[in-house]
Structures are given as structure tokens and as C-alpha cells.
């Protein structure tokens, strides 16, 4: 059913989505925490920046990332100074781009979950002399767990479905940057519709299962932590 190139693209996609999800949970949680708690005048600007990829065409993001990561761009200068070379056409270039692209899908559910907790659990923890780390791991994390799970699932699924950004900076290198969405595009453009169907239908099935389990899970928990289209 799948060709060898298809299987390689599937494996690469899963690897990309897993790494991006893990990194985004680490980066996104403090951002979400800060956004949920702060009264800073910068809150609006940071929220907007995080949400931008929801509205921007991926080509815009991909185009500027290609320039910024290139030998003359500021990210490119930085990575070259570190001796890493430049990021376009590499797996880690896709990771960096996907982190920008999938950021809102991770930050927003966590932020919503923390906001819906209110101040009381943390105040109660504080009166019991819990430090900030203690109260985060033993109070916030268990109470806001559905939000974190939603964030991880959405971040993963959205990275799997990414196309435009990868097309712009990926360079279509087998085993390195050719993910499933690009592989499907190749099949369609090469008029190989049969193979395109096989991969596309698998993607639809995957997306359906992911979103259905998410709604089922949210319904069971009686929580709504997804504002995005949910």
C-alpha cells in the first residue's frame, strides 16, 4: 500500500511532531503561565505574537524564516557563529519553524486551563507554605491536566499537518525534510492520484481519530479547554 518513500515520509513526520511537541510543552508552558497570570501591559502584544500563525499564511512565515535562517539572516548568522551552519533544508530547521507555527495550539489550551483554575488553589497552596515549583507541580499541573493533554494533542496533530512552511524551507530532501504533506503534494502534482489517495486518506483518518478522541476526552471530563474552533 505505502511505498518505501511514503513510509520514510511517515516516519519523519512522526519524529518531527514528537520532538516539536516535547519542545513546545517545555517552551509553551511558561509562556502560557505568564499570560494567564500577568497584568503586564505587554500581555496583549505577546498574546498577539503567539496567535499570529493562526492567521498568517504559512508562506509568509516560511518566506521570512527562509530569509532569517539563511547565511545573511539574523538566525543564520547566529547558528553559523555557533558552528551549526544554516538551518534551511535540515530536519532541525523544520523543528524550529514548526515551533513557531504550532505555538498557539499549545499555549492557548494551557493558558485557558490555568485561567479557569482561578487564584484560589494557588492562594491555598501558598498559605500551606508551598513554594512556586511545589505548587506548580502539585497543584496546577494536576488540576490543569486536561489543558496540558489538549495542548500536546493539538500541537502534535497540527505539526503532522503542516505543509506551507515546510515547503518553503524544507528543500524536499528524502529522510531529512520530505514529510507526508510534501509527499502527498508530489504525488498529486506528478498526477499519481492513486498514491496520493492512499496517503491523503490515511491523513484524514488520523486527523479524525485525533480530534474525535479529543472531544470525547473533553466531554468525559466535563471541561472545555479548547477555544479554537471547539
Amino acid at each position: 500500500m505505502f511505498s518505501e518513500a511514503d513510509l520514510s515520509a511517515i516516519w519523519l513526520t512522526l519524529k518531527l511532531a514528537t520532538i516539536v511537541t516535547i519542545l513546545l510543552m517545555i517552551i509553551g508552558t511558561p509562556i502560557a503561565w505568564w499570560l494567564a497570570r500577568t497584568h503586564s501591559p505587554f500581555k496583549g502584544v505577546i498574546s498577539t505574537l503567539v496567535a499570529l500563525p493562526l492567521v498568517l499564511p504559512p508562506t509568509v512565515l516560511g518566506f521570512y524564516l527562509l530569509l532569517a535562517m539563511g547565511p545573511n539572516g539574523f538566525i543564520g548568522q547566529f547558528t553559523q557563529a555557533l558552528g551549526l551552519g544554516t538551518l534551511p533544508f535540515t530536519f532541525w530547521g523544520l523543528v524550529v519553524a514548526s515551533i513557531f507555527y504550532s505555538m498557539p495550539f499549545v499555549v492557548q489550551p494551557i493558558q485557558n486551563a490555568i485561567e479557569s483554575l482561578g487564584k484560589r488553589p494557588l492562594e491555598a497552596a501558598a498559605t500551606l507554605r508551598a513554594g512556586p515549583w511545589d505548587s506548580f507541580f502539585n497543584v496546577v499541573l494536576p488540576l490543569a491536566k486536561p489543558g496540558f493533554i489538549t495542548a500536546a494533542i493539538l500541537g502534535f496533530a497540527h505539526t503532522v499537518g503542516e505543509f506551507g512552511v515546510i515547503l518553503m524551507i524544507g528543500g524536499n530532501i528524502p529522510d531529512e525534510t520530505r514529510v507526508v504533506s510534501v509527499q502527498i503534494y508530489d504525488h498529486v502534482e506528478a498526477l499519481d492520484y492513486a498514491q496520493a489517495h492512499v496517503l491523503s486518506l490515511s491523513m484524514i483518518a488520523f486527523a479524525f481519530i485525533v480530534l474525535f478522541s479529543l472531544y470525547w476526552f473533553q466531554g468525559k471530563r466535563g471541561v472545555k479547554v479548547m477555544k479554537l474552533g471547539g
Binding site: 527562509l66 535562517m69 539563511g70 547565511p71 551552519g85 534551511p88 528543500g171 524536499n172 530532501i173
Partner: protein, 251 residues
Amino acid sequence: MRFLNLVLGLILCLFFSLSASAERITIAVASNFTAPMKSLVAAFEQTSKHKVRVAYGSSGKFYAQIKQGAPFALFFSADQAKVSALIAQGLADEKSRFTYAVGRLVLWSNRDNLFLDGQHFLATDNYNKLALANPRLAPYGSAALEVLSSLGLLQQSKAKWVQGENIAQTYQFIHSGNAELGFVALSQVMRTGKVAHGSYWQVPSQLHQPIKQDAIVLNSAKNSAAAKAFISFMHSKAAKQIIAQYGYEHV
């Protein structure tokens, strides 16, 4: 009453004769031919009462859209394969097929003085990335592949390939400096009749099959006067001159 009928009839006649004499057609054009087609359409509309509206895009997508009944009168493909496929599907008449341009390949770098002789420079292997259009999708990509194979550099260069989905993206990879050099269409790096900047090596045409770009009249426009007029314009000397200015050969 009779008078009113007469007037109405006259108006209708006028309307139909007008619409028959000045038609507007929409044509689908492979994006590598964007610049010359803009000049061609402008030149055509100066002498003709017909209007031409152009959609630019990838030939693979146009093929899919035409199969689903997209309202294009003519299709200017980037290759010959999609035109053959449309004929085989019974969506276009083989007799109307013609080659409107032959593309020419260059090895190009954004950096000045990087190389004069591209063949020699490729052999030194002294570059970071080699950009080419995806050979599976783009005729310029498969031509690049033939060149590398003619030069015996296929295996050696393979690890350095980055593939654009078309030559526009391939150009972007090189222009942004992310790939030091790559194969693009001569038409992309030419400005007002010559290569504007960077290093380039025009690939000798015997190193690859000619990059023939075919056009065809789609069945929906079989009887369109505008389509006929535009095609006969494409065969004119004026049109061929414009095509050559943009770095294509004409047939």
C-alpha cells in the same frame, strides 16, 4: 407591439454580435512563463478586440482543475506530459497542440565571480547545496538531472541536492543564499535581455533533452474566436520575438 418586438430583436442581435466579436477568455499558464505571457497578452490586446485573462500556476494543479471542469480556454503547460494526458482524457483536441516555447537551463549562483565554467565548478564539489526543481514534477528539474548524469556527477552531487517544487522556488533557494548554486531557467535570471547579476553558466543544450512547453485548446473553447485569435497571435513574428527576449527559444 410589433415595433417593440423589433426593437427588442435589434437589441438582442446587437448584444450577440457584440459578444461574438469581442470575447473574453481565461487561459491557464505555467508559472515559469509568467513574465513573457504578461508582455504577450499586452501586445495581443493592443491589436485585438478580445480580452485575455490569465491564471498562473503549476501545470499539475491546472491539469487537476481542468479535469474537474475549470473554465479555461487554453492551457500553456510547462511540459508536454500534461498536455498528452489531457488529450488522452478526451478533454482537448490533439490537432490544436503546439510547442510555444523551449526552455533553456542555466547553472546560476547569487554570488558574483563564483564560477565561469559551471561544469568544472560542479566537478570540484566546492559548494554547500545544489538547488534543482523536483525532477518528478518540473521539466527543468528532469533536465537538470540529465545534465548531471551527462557530466557523470549524479552520484557525487546527490547528497547536496535541495529540491524546489518548481523553478520559482528553486530560484528562491538560490537567491536567498541558502543554496550556493542551482539549475534554473534562463528566463528567470534574465532582466531586459541579459543576466542581471551573479555567476551563471548556460548549460549546452546537447547535455539534456529539449525542454518543450506545449499549449493546447481545451474542448470548451473549440469554437471560441478569441482562442483562435490568440493562438494565431502566438505564431506571429511579434510573439516569437517577445518569447526570445525572455530567454526561451521558439519553434
